[in-house]
């Protein structure tokens, strides 16, 4: 059936408002029948001006701001920021604090991967798996609440350490939770590798070869599913990852099934790490003192977020406020891989391919002023604010 509106090019818009998207983004898929022939993305609907906002706040206040960059991986943002600040200040958090930081990171990875499993299953129309994995995710959310008091923004970090401690009762709860989750995860691994209808939607769909992944700079589980051996936790261990190392999980197929398998196997790694951390938690202080004014300098701090490498660039001018905070989130690196792998697949596969990189919109939206030769503009904070007011009037 030929559409009557556009005889040559039939473009299906997904977003900014669409049931498949939990955050606003805009994608245009050119289709021929059901087959996608071209894909474009437009981001930037949830730009919040956080990097700029960070320059107006002190280092301590920024910690809380940065934690709110992402609602799913709030801990790693605060972690990357505080690791950077500590490096600038020339201090190091005590071992127990480092171990607790790693513990919360891994708990957060568990909750993020289980969340993703549910979302990806929902995009493929498998709501039962969605409901079950989100039910089990509550276990780890409850654990995070037990140890930090919060389900989402755990606020575990302070500059120079952590503000939460793990007592024996909490440790027991964590061990029990990990046992339950491991058992459930075994079931999910079985479902995603054996269920025929589900395999029909994931096997050989959205295949990204190693060369493509390497060229496009795919990172995190998305890259690892294509055989890219890249993980900050292994490559340059931070916090306690050198004492409690993580095994790299990779897969060679690069299709959606491989992304499911990599993430689920990473869950096992996290369970193992969490147990080990709880059992062998080093004793000692939780914080060291960090000066209010951070010495002048620049630093890059990298951590492995659930979605891949998270990079913070911090520049200090010696005052109590940062000169520049630059955040590069993993979703941004993976977008191009979606647009490349989408072509040639069915429209029905698009939601799953989109979800396959575990996209996060609000953390990667930025404002860019493009310097063209003719109409070059520079905007300061006040102009930008005014522009925003005018734009949305």
């Amino acid at each position: 059936m030929e559409p009557k509106t556009a005889p040559e090019k039939f473009i299906v818009p997904i977003g900014p408002q669409h049931p498949a998207l939990k955050e606003p983004g805009h994608f245009e898929f050119t289709v021929e029948g059901e087959v996608v022939t071209n894909a474009t993305a437009r981001l930037g609907f949830v730009h919040r001006g956080m990097e700029k906002g960070a320059e107006n706040r002190t280092w301590v206040q920024d910690l809380y701001l940065m934690e709110r960059v992402c609602g799913i991986c709030s801990h790693v943002h605060a972690l990357a920021f505080s690791l950077g600040v500590e490096k600038l200040a020339g201090v190091q958090a005590p071992p127990r604090a480092q171990a607790i930081r790693e513990l919360v990171s891994e708990l957060e990875r568990i909750h993020s991967h289980l969340l993703w499993l549910g979302v990806a299953a929902h995009e493929g129309g498998f709501d039962t798996l969605f409901m079950f994995s989100w039910r089990d995710r509550e276990t780890v959310m409850d654990l995070l609440e037990t140890i930090s008091g919060n389900r989402v923004n755990y606020s575990a970090n302070v500059l120079g350490g952590v503000k939460i401690d793990i007592n024996e009762k909490q440790a027991d709860a964590i061990r029990k939770g990990m046992d339950f989750l491991e058992e459930r995860t075994q079931h999910y691994l079985k479902v995603v590798t054996e269920d025929e209808t589900f395999l029909g939607r994931t096997r050989n769909i959205g295949v990204m070869t190693y060369e493509q992944a390497d060229f496009l700079g795919a990172i995190g589980p998305t890259g690892r599913a294509s055989g890219v051996k890249r993980d900050v936790r292994v490559d340059s261990p931070y916090t306690a990852y050198s004492d409690f190392p993580v095994n790299l999980v990779t897969h060679t197929h690069g299709d959606l099934e491989a992304r499911f398998i990599v993430r689920i196997k990473e869950l096992y790694e996290s369970y193992r790490l969490v147990r080990e951390l709880v059992d062998k938690m080093p004793a000692g202080e939780l914080t060291v003192k960090v000066p209010r004014r951070i010495p002048e300098g620049e630093v890059i701090s990298r951590v492995e977020a659930p979605r891949g490498e998270l990079l913070y660039f911090l520049k200090s001018n010696g005052s109590d406020k940062p000169e520049r905070v630059k955040v590069r989130t993993p979703s941004l690196c993976n977008w191009s891989s979606v647009l490349v792998t989408a072509v040639g697949h069915n429209l029905a596969d698009m939601p799953m391919i989109l979800a396959g990189i575990d996209p996060c919109f609000s953390c990667n939206d930025r404002v860019v002023t493009v310097n063209r030769k003719t109409d070059s503009t520079q905007m300061d904070w006040e102009d930008l604010r005014q522009y925003g007011i005018e734009y949305y009037k």
Partner: protein, 321 residues
């Protein structure tokens, strides 16, 4: 039960008409509740489908620009009318059908297909891109499940040598149930019904994560409510047909209740077991597997019927001829 209702009563109140509309909502509730329980959710309260319909009926109906207005308004009504009309030929709630003649099976199946045709037209009528894709998919799906579904329902008809629904209903209960005699036909008929009603995993025509609500995307208020009721009515009639053909027919309302509800339980379980099939997978499945299986079944029935008088009465009872 052989009570004869005057046609006007049957059409407007009982067992068709108003009563059928409400039982459609009840069946929708049971379906939603069962799926929810299978998915470890709590599910809706008992009046939720009714509340949905009342709310939708009370809302403004937005007619988008670029549609043929008359068609846009008429399509849901036609779809519901066709579904309600088909109720006159089936043994609803175990009562004798109001109208009955040789070949009413085919008429009923046509009337049941009207819904999908209306959905296809409704989608093609608007300029919305999601609706267009939804309409294409709905019609593609129609061409894939319709033939096997029809063939599956023909199995009992051929075995009993009649094309009259009430005679099949009566005959189905006399011998061995067709669910045992013709298991393939039963599976195909039940899965075909799920395809007809666009239940998961055959919900590609309205896959919300891809094309929002498919052909219904532009529908709101009254039109959407009527489509929704029409589909509920079709759920009841479809379950009635499959249960009466394959599960020994109905003699009493109680028979009707437990047989259709058992079928509903099975469909709810199937709905929660699978991931959504892509439209190409749906078509492939029906034509590569469904049709071949039913054809095999038909061959067995016909050969059995030819051989039955010759060989032994046991075979005769097995195939009901």
């Amino acid at each position: 039960m052989n009570i004869n209702f005057p046609p006007i009563v049957a059409l407007l109140f009982f067992p068709g008409g108003a009563f059928l509309l409400f039982s459609g909502l009840v069946f929708e509730y049971i379906d939603r509740k069962l799926v929810a329980r299978f998915q470890n959710r709590i599910g809706p309260r008992w009046f939720q489908p009714l509340a949905d319909v009342v709310k939708l009926l009370a809302k403004e109906e937005i007619i988008p620009t670029g549609v043929m207005k008359g068609l846009f308004v008429a399509l849901p009504v036609v779809a519901l009318t066709a579904a309600l009309t088909s109720a006159l030929y089936v043994p609803l709630f175990g009562f004798k059908p109001v109208f009955s003649f040789q070949g009413d099976l085919i008429v009923t199946l046509y009337l049941l297909s009207m819904m999908t045709l209306c959905i296809g037209l409704a989608g093609a009528n608007t300029e919305d891109r999601f609706s267009l894709i939804g309409a294409t998919r709905a019609l593609t799906q129609l061409f894939s499940y319709e033939a096997p579904f029809l063939l599956a329902l023909l199995g009992p008809a051929i075995a009993l040598r009649t094309w009259n629904i009430s005679e099949i209903n009566a005959g189905a209960g006399s011998g061995l149930w067709f669910i045992i005699a013709q298991p393939i036909g039963f599976v195909v008929a039940l899965v075909g019904l799920m395809g007809k009603l666009e239940l998961p995993p055959f919900d590609a025509p309205e896959a919300e994560t891809e094309i929002v609500a498919g052909a219904f995307t532009e529908y709101s208020g009254r039109g959407f409510a009527i489509f929704k009721i029409g589909r509920d009515v079709e759920l009841v009639i479809g379950l009635t047909l499959v249960a009466s053909f394959y599960m020994g027919g109905f003699a009493t309302p109680l028979d009707f209740l437990w047989k259709t509800l058992l079928l509903l339980l099975v469909t709810a379980a199937l709905q929660s077991l699978f991931a959504r099939l892509r439209i190409d997978q749906t078509v492939g499945m029906w034509w590569r597997v469904g049709v071949l299986m039913v054809l095999l079944q038909l061959v067995v029935i016909i050969v059995g019927q030819q051989l039955a008088p010759v060989i032994q009465p046991a075979l005769q009872s097995l195939f009901g001829g």
